[in-house]
Amino acid sequence: MKHSNWLAGAAVAAISLGGAAQAQTTLSMWYHGAGNEVEAKIVDQIIADFNASQTDWKVEMQSFPQAAYNDSVVAGALAGNLPDILDVDGPVMPNWAWSGYMQPLQIDETLIEGFLPGPKGYWDGKLYSIGLWDAAVALVTRQSYLDELGLRTPTLEQPWTGEEFMAALEAAKASGKFEYAFDPGMAWTGEWYPYAFSPFLQSFGGDIVDRSTYKTAEGALNGEAAIAFGEWWQGLFTNGYAQASQDPADRDSGFAAGKYAFSWNGNWAALGALSTFEDTVFLPAPDFGNGSKIGAASWQFGVSASSKHPEGASAFIQFALQDKYLAAFSNGIGLIPPTKTAAEMTDNYKDGGPMAVFYDLTKAQALVRPVTPGYVVQAKVFEKALADIANGANVADTLDAAVDEINADIEKNGGYGH
């Protein structure tokens, strides 16, 4: 009797376990972090926690190397082979949403009310993606350099004006102590250009495209403000403050080696700088007349348009928004947590933490890149124009040509749905 009871119990347990296993519908997920061990571990942990937390869904992830990720998604979309959940670089999201690769998220938006603006991926009035972190750039230097050069330390409330910034570069150059006064990061190409340099243009009063309509770049990228920006940009190189082409090794280690007085770099490089120089300081972007601006929006999670289980995919993304995961990403890879509560749980971004300034910078100065499907083309045109200007091309002609190219693309794509 005892034996038969045990058998019956085992049978019931087996049936219930089998039933539970069968009930879990598999959700496929693509992620751009292959090769990044720390990031992969955190994502794996979130997936394991989510899969164990409920019996409806089971997420399975495929990792892609970042450099190959966007092409893989586009190819997957063409082949009708997209996963349920994918991640997307913030400024690229409108293009994927417009192209029909993504659908709006089904998450409780009250959960993201306290998020920084950058990680919220809105397109056409709907939330398509949400990020678990943000990234920011700052003017990296040393307090001792500022003191030696007799420069005021700019603050968030009172950043340097454009004139003060140029005077700082001139002082650094005149000191003869540095190879170049300023390292804008010319060794980095691609998205670095619009992410890091278009905020300067916006601070001048220009933009990559006219954001009031998103139907033209006329006036925004070749108006008076944009030409003033272009001339300033070219002057950085012609006046010897910065180098137009840079060895990647110098970008990685030039500031640490004392080659540059000021480096325009992101929070991902901040810990390295702090470990080299204890007196490293992260200064806000200079204000060229229209406020200090920095870029915003990093990688975000979304749901593919072809997902048959958008509610499950959204449930996973909502699960990942917990502060403990936001803090884990920040502690693991140094990125900015999107909420103040998560920031307080981190070593670097809590009040008084060594990188807390980046949270404040993002909150105060961040401006997302143009929210339009055309951005992917506009970013490349902008990059080419800036590289050409840095190498001596005529500013007005180059910007006019860039405007023509952007406008032609907008027209070819029927205005991109704006």
Partner: protein, 292 residues
């Protein structure tokens, strides 16, 4: 007079060797740089690039980059995938393309010249222009395998192999080589009653060693260096080849030492294959004038 002539000969020889050594250095130094850099930490690697130390195993030399490369990515799996895909494609390609060339050169049939012209014309079509249509086709094709009939070839080895078995360049190489074979051999065999498959197997292919080596090396390099196609059709890590795997090492801050270690490891199969077929490859170039 004899002495002067000997001196001239020696001088010419010395000059020739000096030039050859210089050329060898130009070609070998990148490999030496890669190998030496793979043994150094990033900071030292970057510093050494400014001097001859870049080509020497000096400083903090270790195998740490190799260990780290294995930690970052499934290197052995990527190499296995590439060697498997490349090896199978090369073998099938040599078989199919040599048969096609045999038919073009030795068997008379209607439309032969036109079809050969069409195949050769494909040489000027870049792969990028047909990649998307090919992807759309491959994603819907049926396949019978271990799981029975399935639809769509994505995420498999065969999607990386089948589209590249036949190609214009390999057929062209075989056609050119077969044309130079003595026609009397084939005629004599036909008179003796040999069938076309017998002539292909027993007469033509045993004489085709040099072109087989050339075609194999060129095909091997093209397949081993595949990047765009596997990027488009493979989403699962288990089927990824080495060139897509290389991207694992390009994070925000590139680990250059690991990149060099990875490159050193994935270069080994290419070098081994080339060295194995080197003699026949050179013989082929010498006899056909085809440049690799």
């Amino acid at each position: 007079m004899a002495t002067i002539s000997a001196d001239n000969h020696g001088l010419r020889l010395a000059t020739r060797y000096a030039v050859l050594v210089l050329i060898a250095i130009v070609f070998i130094f990148p490999l030496v740089f890669m190998l030496m850099s793979s043994l150094k930490p990033d900071q030292q690697l970057l510093q050494d690039t400014a001097s001859l130390r870049a080509f020497l195993p000096v400083g903090d030399v270790s195998l740490r980059n190799y260990t780290a490369a294995f930690d970052r990515a499934p290197v052995a799996l990527f190499i296995f995938n590439s060697v498997l895909v490349t090896g199978v494609t090369v073998v099938l390609s040599l078989l199919v393309c040599s048969m096609a060339a045999f038919a073009f050169v030795f068997i008379g049939w209607k439309g032969r010249d036109f079809l050969l012209t069409v195949i050769l014309a494909t040489l000027i079509v870049p792969f990028e222009t047909i990649a998307i249509p090919l992807l759309l086709i491959a994603s819907k094709l049926p396949w019978i395998g271990m799981d029975g009939l399935t639809w769509g070839w994505l995420n498999s080895y065969h999607v990386q192999i089948v589209p590249f078995i036949a190609d214009g360049l390999t057929i062209f190489l075989f056609v050119q080589y077969f044309k130079d074979l003595p026609g009397e051999l084939i005629e004599a065999a036909r008179v003796e009653g040999a069938t076309w498959p017998q002539i292909y197997r027993r007469i033509v292919m045993p004489l085709a060693g040099p072109v087989l080596a050339t075609a194999a090396i060129l095909k091997f390099l093209a397949m081993y260096n595949q990047y765009l196609w596997p990027l488009m059709v493979v989403q699962q890590e288990g089927y990824r080849p080495v060139m897509v795997g290389l991207q694992y090492f390009f994070q925000q801050n590139v680990a250059w030492g690991e990149v060099m270690a990875y490159l050193s490891m994935i270069t080994v199969p290419v070098l081994a294959f080339y060295l194995y077929l080197q003699r026949a490859f050179i013989a082929s170039i010498a006899s056909t004038g085809v440049k690799g």
